[in-house]
C-alpha cells in the first residue's frame, strides 16, 4: 500500500498496468471492450488478415446502434450501405464468438446506454470502445475512453493498449443547482468555462456536492460530454448511488463476489490530499439552463442571454471563428436566445436518452401540443429496455398525445447516419452532444440543450426558459 494520497485516476491506472516500459508508455489491461458497427469492420479485417483471434472473447460486447432505423424494423434496414455495415458486425461477431445484441433484440440500444444498463460497465474497470463518447462510463468510477479503429484491433488481439498516463484535472461543482437546472446544463456550463480544448491531455474528475447529488443517469450525461471539453476520460467517484445502480444487473457479480467487489469499489475515490495537475471550481448556483448558439459546444450561453457580438471580440482568430459560426447558424449578433425559433426537436442520444431524461421531457410536454412551426419532434429512447420502461410508465402516450414521435432505440438524429436528419437550414433543439457543422445533416443547425429545455422549445416553437415555462 502506498502512503501517498492518490487520485481516483491514479488508483485505476495503477491497477491496470501490465508493463511499464519506463519511457512513459505503459501497456494497460482493458477489462471491457464495447463494439459497434461503424468503427469495427476494418479491425476485424485486420485480425483476419494477420491470422489473429480475439484475446478474450468474454471481454467484448457488441451492438449495432449508429445505422439502425428508428422506425418499424420488421422489414430490416432499407439503405443498402447501412445494411452492409450492420451485416458485417453480425457476421464478425458470429465468426469470432462475440456476444452481440442484434437489431431486434430488446436489449439493443446505444452502446453507451446498454453497457451500464447490463452491468457490463462496473466501477474500477478499464472500458474502451471505438467511440469518443466512451467517456460516459466514467460515471461509474471506471477509466473509460474512446479509441480509433487500429486500437480496436489492438484491444481485440491483445486485451491491452499502449497508453501514456494523462494529467489530472478536478472540476468541482460546489453547492446545489437551482430548480430546472440539470446535469446537461452543468456540463455545458463547464465546457463554456474551460473550452473545447480545456481538457486536452487530461482525465477529468468531476466532484463537488452538485455532482454527488446527481443520479447515475445525470452522472453519465456529465461524463459523456467530457470529450466535448477535450478530455478523453471523465470520472466520478464511486458512492452508494453507484453501487445501488449496479446491483442485480445481468453482468454484475452476485453473492459473495458481489460483497468482495463492493468492498473494493468503496475505495474508488480520490484520497484526501491527492494532488491534481489542475483544478477548476464552479459555483452550482451560478449555472442556468444552457443553450449553444454556435458550431462548437463551447459556444454556449444561459437561455436568458443574447447571441454574442463578434465585433466585441479583440482576438482575430476567435472573432473570425464566431463570425463563421453565426453565418452558418443563421443568427444575428445580440439576438435574444429566447427569440430563436426552431424547426425540429431531437430528444435522444447517448447524452440524454435514459429513463430519467425521458421523464424530464415528458413532464414538460404533458397535456400540451407541439407548436405549429415545429415540423418534427423525435423522441428516441436509448435502448429497448429504456423504451419498455418508459412505455410501462405511459411516457410514450404523453409524447404522442403532444404530437411528438416515439421511436425505436439508436443513435438516430444525433449524427444522422440513418434516415433521421436535418435538411439544409433547419434548426433543431437537440439533447445530443455535438453542434458541429453538418452533424445532424448537411446544412443543419443544432442547438444543444437539456431534455426539459428541448421539450419546452418543442411546445413553444422557440427556446424558452424551462424554469418559467408553465
Amino acid at each position: 500500500m502506498s502512503a501517498t494520497p492518490r487520485t481516483l485516476y491514479d488508483k485505476i491506472w495503477d491497477e491496470h498496468v501490465v508493463r511499464d516500459s519506463g519511457d512513459g508508455a505503459c501497456l494497460i489491461y482493458i477489462d471491457r471492450h464495447l463494439v459497434h458497427e461503424v468503427t469495427s469492420p476494418q479491425a476485424f479485417d485486420g485480425l483476419r488478415l494477420n491470422g489473429r483471434k480475439p484475446w478474450s472473447i468474454a471481454a467484448n460486447l457488441a451492438v449495432a446502434d449508429h445505422n439502425v432505423p428508428t422506425t418499424d424494423r420488421a422489414g430490416g434496414i432499407t439503405d443498402p450501405i447501412s445494411r452492409t455495415q450492420v451485416d458485417a458486425l453480425d457476421s464478425n461477431c458470429a465468426e469470432f464468438g462475440i456476444t452481440e445484441f442484434r437489431m431486434n433484440d430488446r436489449r439493443q440500444g446505444i452502446v453507451h446506454v446498454i453497457g451500464p444498463e447490463q452491468g457490463a460497465t462496473l466501477p474500477g474497470m478499464t472500458v474502451v470502445c471505438g467511440d469518443s463518447h466512451t467517456s460516459t462510463h466514467g460515471a461509474f468510477g471506471a477509466l473509460a475512453f474512446g479509441i480509433g479503429t487500429s486500437e480496436v484491433e489492438h484491444v481485440l488481439a491483445t486485451q491491452t493498449l499502449v497508453a501514456k498516463k494523462s494529467r489530472t484535472l478536478r472540476i468541482v461543482v460546489r453547492g446545489q443547482v437551482g430548480p430546472g437546472v440539470t446535469a446537461k446544463d452543468i456540463v455545458l456550463a463547464i465546457i463554456g468555462r474551460i473550452g473545447t480544448a480545456g481538457g486536452t491531455g487530461y482525465a477529468i474528475e468531476f466532484a463537488g456536492e452538485a455532482i454527488a447529488a446527481l443520479s447515475m443517469e445525470g452522472r453519465m450525461t456529465v461524463c459523456n460530454m467530457a470529450i466535448e471539453g477535450g478530455a478523453r476520460a471523465g470520472l466520478i467517484a464511486v458512492d452508494q448511488t453507484t453501487i445501488d445502480y449496479c446491483k442485480g444487473r445481468p453482468y454484475a457479480p452476485k453473492g459473495e463476489t458481489w460483497d468482495r467487489a463492493v468492498a473494493h469499489w468503496r475505495t474508488l475515490h480520490s484520497d484526501d490530499g491527492a494532488v491534481f495537475d489542475s483544478e477548476v471550481v464552479i459555483d452550482a448556483q451560478s449555472i442556468q439552463p444552457q443553450v449553444t448558439w454556435g458550431t462548437s459546444p463551447e459556444m454556449v450561453l444561459p437561455v436568458t442571454a443574447s447571441v454574442p457580438d463578434p465585433a466585441s471580440v479583440g482576438d482575430a482568430v476567435k472573432r473570425s471563428g464566431m463570425e463563421k459560426a453565426l453565418a452558418y447558424m443563421g443568427l444575428q449578433p445580440n439576438q435574444p436566445i429566447e427569440s430563436i425559433a426552431i424547426d425540429k426537436v431531437f430528444i435522444g442520444s447517448c447524452t440524454n436518452s435514459r429513463i430519467e431524461d425521458l421523464r424530464a421531457a415528458a413532464s414538460v410536454v404533458r397535456g400540451k401540443r407541439k407548436a405549429a412551426n415545429v415540423k418534427l419532434a423525435l423522441v428516441v429512447p436509448g435502448s429497448g429496455l429504456v423504451k419498455a420502461q418508459a412505455e410501462s410508465e405511459g411516457l410514450d402516450r404523453i409524447f404522442t398525445d403532444a404530437g411528438f414521435e416515439w421511436r425505436e432505440p439508436g443513435c438516430s438524429m444525433c449524427l444522422a447516419m440513418n434516415a433521421d436528419r436535418l435538411e439544409p437550414g433547419e434548426r433543431c433543439a437537440s439533447t445530443s452532444n455535438r453542434n458541429f457543422e453538418g452533424r445532424q445533416g448537411q446544412g443543419g443547425r443544432t442547438h444543444l440543450v437539456s431534455p426539459a429545455m428541448a421539450a419546452a422549445a418543442g411546445i413553444a416553437g422557440h427556446f424558452v426558459d424551462v424554469r418559467s415555462f408553465v
Binding site: 508508455a25 450501405i81 455495415q85 480509433g148 491483445t158 480544448a197 467487489a261 476567435k318 449524427l415
Partner: protein, 215 residues
C-alpha cells in the same frame, strides 16, 4: 505500418481553429467497411457545393472553387497547416485515413485533440504541434510565397522553413520509434503475451468479478 522519416513537401493552409472530425470526413462515408478510398470525400461539406454520399460519383458533383484544396496550387500539398484543437470530435480513424488517402502525410497545428493525435500514428501519419506564434508566422510566409514548402525532419524533431529556420517539436519516444521504423504495434505487444497472461492470472484472484459474464 508505413514509416515516416523526413519529408519536404508543399503546404496547404486550412486557416481555422477546431477543425472537427465531422468536417474532415462526414458521417455518411463512415458506412464504408473499407480502410481506403476516403480521400475523395475529405472535407466534403467544404469542398463540394452539393451533398454527397458513398454511392454518388464524385465526378458528378460540383466542387466549391473557393475551398483551398480545390485550388490547383495546393492539390499536391502533402502537409496541412491549421490552428488549435485540430481533429476534435469523434474517435473516427477515418479522419486520418481520409487525410492520408488524399495525399497528406502530416498536419502542423498549434494543438490536437487527443484521440485524433493518437490515431494518426497508426497510419504512419504525423501530427506536429508548434506554438501558436510559430503557426501564425508559417501562415504569413505561406500566404506570401506561392509553392511554399516545409521540411519535417522526424529523427531530429524539427520543422525547417525554406529560409532555414528550424522549429523543434515534441513527440514521445515510443511513437517516434514506431513511426521511423514502421513497426506493427500489435506484433510488438504480443511479444509481451506472457506478461499479459500473468497479469490476468493475478487479476482473476484479486478481482474475480471482472471475469464473470452471464452465460
Amino acid at each position: 505500418m508505413r514509416a515516416f522519416t523526413t519529408l519536404t513537401a508543399k503546404v496547404a493552409p486550412l486557416d481555422r481553429p477546431n477543425v472537427d472530425t465531422d468536417a474532415i470526413i462526414p458521417k455518411q462515408y463512415l458506412k464504408s467497411i473499407k480502410r481506403t478510398g476516403f480521400g475523395q470525400f475529405l472535407f466534403d461539406d467544404w469542398r463540394y457545393l452539393d451533398a454527397g454520399d458513398l454511392d454518388i460519383p464524385v465526378a458528378s458533383r460540383r466542387p466549391n472553387p473557393d475551398f483551398v484544396l480545390n485550388q490547383p496550387a495546393y492539390r499536391d500539398a502533402q502537409i496541412l497547416l491549421s490552428r488549435e484543437n485540430f481533429g476534435c470530435g469523434s474517435s473516427r480513424e477515418h479522419a486520418v485515413w481520409a487525410l492520408d488517402d488524399f495525399g497528406f502525410r502530416a498536419v502542423i497545428a498549434s494543438s490536437f485533440a487527443d484521440i485524433f493525435y493518437n490515431n494518426s500514428f497508426k497510419t504512419g501519419f504525423l501530427p506536429v504541434a508548434l506554438t501558436a506564434d510559430v503557426i501564425e508566422t508559417l501562415f504569413r510566409e505561406l500566404a506570401a510565397n506561392p509553392g511554399y514548402t516545409l521540411t519535417i525532419d522526424l529523427p531530429a524533431q524539427r520543422v525547417i522553413t525554406p529560409g532555414g529556420l528550424a522549429h523543434a517539436f515534441d513527440i514521445d519516444a515510443f511513437r517516434k520509434d514506431c513511426l521511423i521504423r514502421g513497426l506493427d504495434e500489435i506484433g510488438l505487444t504480443l511479444q509481451h503475451a506472457d506478461a499479459i497472461r500473468a497479469y490476468e492470472a493475478r487479476r482473476r484472484e484479486q478481482a474475480p468479478w471482472l471475469f464473470t459474464n452471464p452465460v
